[in-house]
Symmetry: C2
Subunit: 431 residues, 2 copies
């Protein structure tokens, strides 16, 4: 990992325009979306044959397939799913929001009604890996929010099968239906509906570049969760950090893929060197060491700061997806942290704990977007409606305010809607 000072790091970081037209990729994605809009299930089956190499007869996973999957996974995996599921539910229950109202004046009731989104689509990546943890993390908050219909789409393998781990997790989490379809075509189906797949109002879940790009295109017609970039960890360590632990955590982040960003920020040059030594020692034993080495070489950074305060400043500048505070007083320093997806405190709260089992969501804002967005949560599956009730006299009291502002904006029919009620009111009062 490259070692540098805080000011060197500040100079090297800057914002780039990542969201412009993406040429051929966009063309392909837009063609797929319009194909699915026009041809529905026929397009889905054809595209699945072309892109996933399997001619399916039906898209929906059957009850038999579910039971087979559940029978094929180990007992210990089942137990792990249930434990993780329980912890995820406990934490997310803390996010539940209530409708409320207030009476700020005589004759005035204002409020906010909270209601679940009716139908949600969850995309789960397939291919070589399987992500049962993503199934739990995306579905459980939606269930808690009261979403009535949760549809999962995930690409089949070349034999037309879905990972049994994913199916077992979908069952534990409470998905209503699982369809064997992936890529941009799955996002199009969820956004606009087909004969088989009902239109969703929000689409969540991770995916490859096709999926991410399709989500960007359908955004607006339907809500989407964040468009995730490469995963990252930022460990802020002082001399109380265990270097072997910090190294293991940086390595775990690096194994995701070559783009993953493992960062260590420390006021202690000694700790930086000790972590570097542990990385060299531990990496040899790891299965995915080729990916890890590339991630560390290309994106890994050790930033040595003047002080702990400067290290925390750098963390805020990075706005990391995962922030580990391996420092003497992690709780006491929380006030200094303004930008982070999830904050892990102390030597015994490693990032993989949050990925799988602690309870908070592992779908987190990446690439600095923690400066303006939040972990996936129950609040992502609910929406609010404002409530306004004025009695006749209360409206009269505020009518000059409304008409003055409406007239300043040249909207005289707006003023008239108030005036017609005032005239009636005055007529009655004159009685």
């Amino acid at each position: 990992m490259k070692k540098m000072t805080a000011s060197q790091f500040r100079q090297a970081s800057g914002s780039s325009f990542g969201q412009t037209n993406n040429g051929i990729l966009d063309e392909k994605v837009l063609r797929i979306i319009s194909d699915v809009q026009k041809n529905g299930d026929t397009a889905l089956l054809r595209l699945t044959e072309e892109l996933d190499g399997i001619r399916l007869r039906t898209l929906q996973v059957t009850e038999d397939e579910f039971q087979e999957a559940e029978a094929s996974v180990s007992d210990s995996f089942h137990t792990a799913l249930r434990t993780a599921g329980k912890n995820i539910e406990t934490f997310h229950a803390g996010q539940m929001e209530q409708s409320w109202f207030m009476n700020p004046d005589l004759g005035v009731t204002l409020g906010q009604k909270v209601s679940p989104i009716e139908r949600v689509g969850v995309y789960i990546p397939g291919g070589k890996a399987s992500y049962p943890s993503s199934v739990l993390m995306n579905i459980i908050p939606a269930k808690l929010a009261g979403v009535k219909d949760i549809t999962v789409t995930t690409p089949p393998d070349e034999h037309g099968n879905i990972s049994p781990h994913v199916l077992a997790a979908a069952r534990v989490a409470g998905a209503d239906t699982v369809y064997k379809v992936g890529g941009a075509q799955a996002i199009a189906a969820l956004a606009y509906g087909t004969e088989t797949i009902k239109k969703a109002f929000k689409i969540v879940g991770p995916g490859n570049t096709y999926v991410a790009r399709a989500k960007k295109w359908v955004f607006g017609d339907v809500a989407v969760d964040m468009i995730a970039g490469p995963s990252e960890i930022c460990i802020v360590a002082d001399e109380t950090a265990n270097p072997a632990f910090a190294a293991a955590d940086l390595l775990s982040q690096a194994e995701h893929d070559e783009q993953a960003r493992p960062l260590l920020v420390t006021p202690s040059s000694h700790i930086a060197d000790a972590v570097q030594g542990e990385i060299s020692r531990q990496i040899e034993k790891l299965e995915r060491k080729k990916i890890i080495r590339q991630s560390l070489d290309q994106n890994g950074r050790m930033i040595v700061t003047e002080s702990l305060a400067e290290a925390l400043d750098i963390a805020n500048l990075i706005a990391p997806e995962h922030l580990q505070l391996m420092i003497r007083e992690p709780f006491e320093n929380l006030a200094a942290i303004t930008n982070a997806g999830a904050i892990f405190l102390g030597n015994y709260s490693p990032e993989p704990l949050g990925d799988y089992a602690a309870g908070p969501n592992h779908t987190l804002p990446t690439s600095g977007t923690a400066a303006f967005s939040s972990p996936l949560g129950v609040y992502d599956f609910m929406k609010k409606s404002s409530i306004i009730h004025y009695q006749r006299d209360a409206l009269r009291n505020v009518s000059e305010t409304v008409t003055s502002l409406a007239k300043a904006e040249g909207l005289t029919a707006h003023a008239q809607s108030i005036q017609i009620r005032k005239d009636e009111n005055d007529a009655k009062t004159d009685d």
Copy 2:
């Protein structure tokens, strides 16, 4: 307004793909964005000369300009601004969110830290009309959330001036800086920063198609509020509705622009006819009757249903920006409403009241997006970070869950990050 049955209306409504590539408009917008990214203030000044017809020397509104604006608006306008501002603040204070934590098990602390977004950009349209109410509605919730830096951009007129109403409102609401720049160039400046304008982390506020498209393109690099479509009102009326009031409210909605959608849904054909009669009578006196007539003819609908329950179902299908319940028991029927931006109850809570003075936000989801999104609120200017702290023994208790799931996903370095702590733990326990 066209009169139809509920089933005719259902058949005519369907989803369309509105978010695809937009040809020439997108080309122009992308060229402007990359111009501003490359050339900063120089590009802003050049584009303002080209597009707004004024060569400015500086972009920032001066203290002298503010004072001149404040002196030029009427006392009654000032009073209206302050009354509306107070009401907006009172309602939005109800939306404040608290950080929280829980201790679900011995040795486990989980939580959610809520913090304001650091810098926010607010776009306010200019041109012929001026929108002081939008200034209040966008800035006050951001202030309440604790946003440190609120930058307003708004296009200058051909003399290089900004509406005094807008400047007076910016002062009341508490904007930090106002810049004279509009269009896609303003959005690019807020998204990426220039020498003068600091990069914002979120951009909010209404705008024309250039602004809306630019917001769609920068989305992801920066957060944006909703991309608003034409304004709409849906009045659900029974025989207790005052037809003259309902007509005035439909007309007020129609005056926004030709695309505005005024809808009446009623189980009473008699009420539909009475409202129609009132519309014909009232329209003649209105200044903007040309726009109103086009809106009514093209987009106005009177939907006559079998029952009140069906009328409420139709309202949920429409998911209107503004929903007026002019019915006998509006509160009692709130439970049946699942999709609406703002809900106005009874005969004395007309939509223009909410536009200007009631308190709830007038930035609302349009075009059916209330099915999955919420009014602008304090929550739009805050973000959450998850907090995870496990003590050593607590981590050991959950270690099998983590390693079982990590191994199922093929992420063995993740499992190792837990294992290395367990090994140390076991070694200590053996002591």
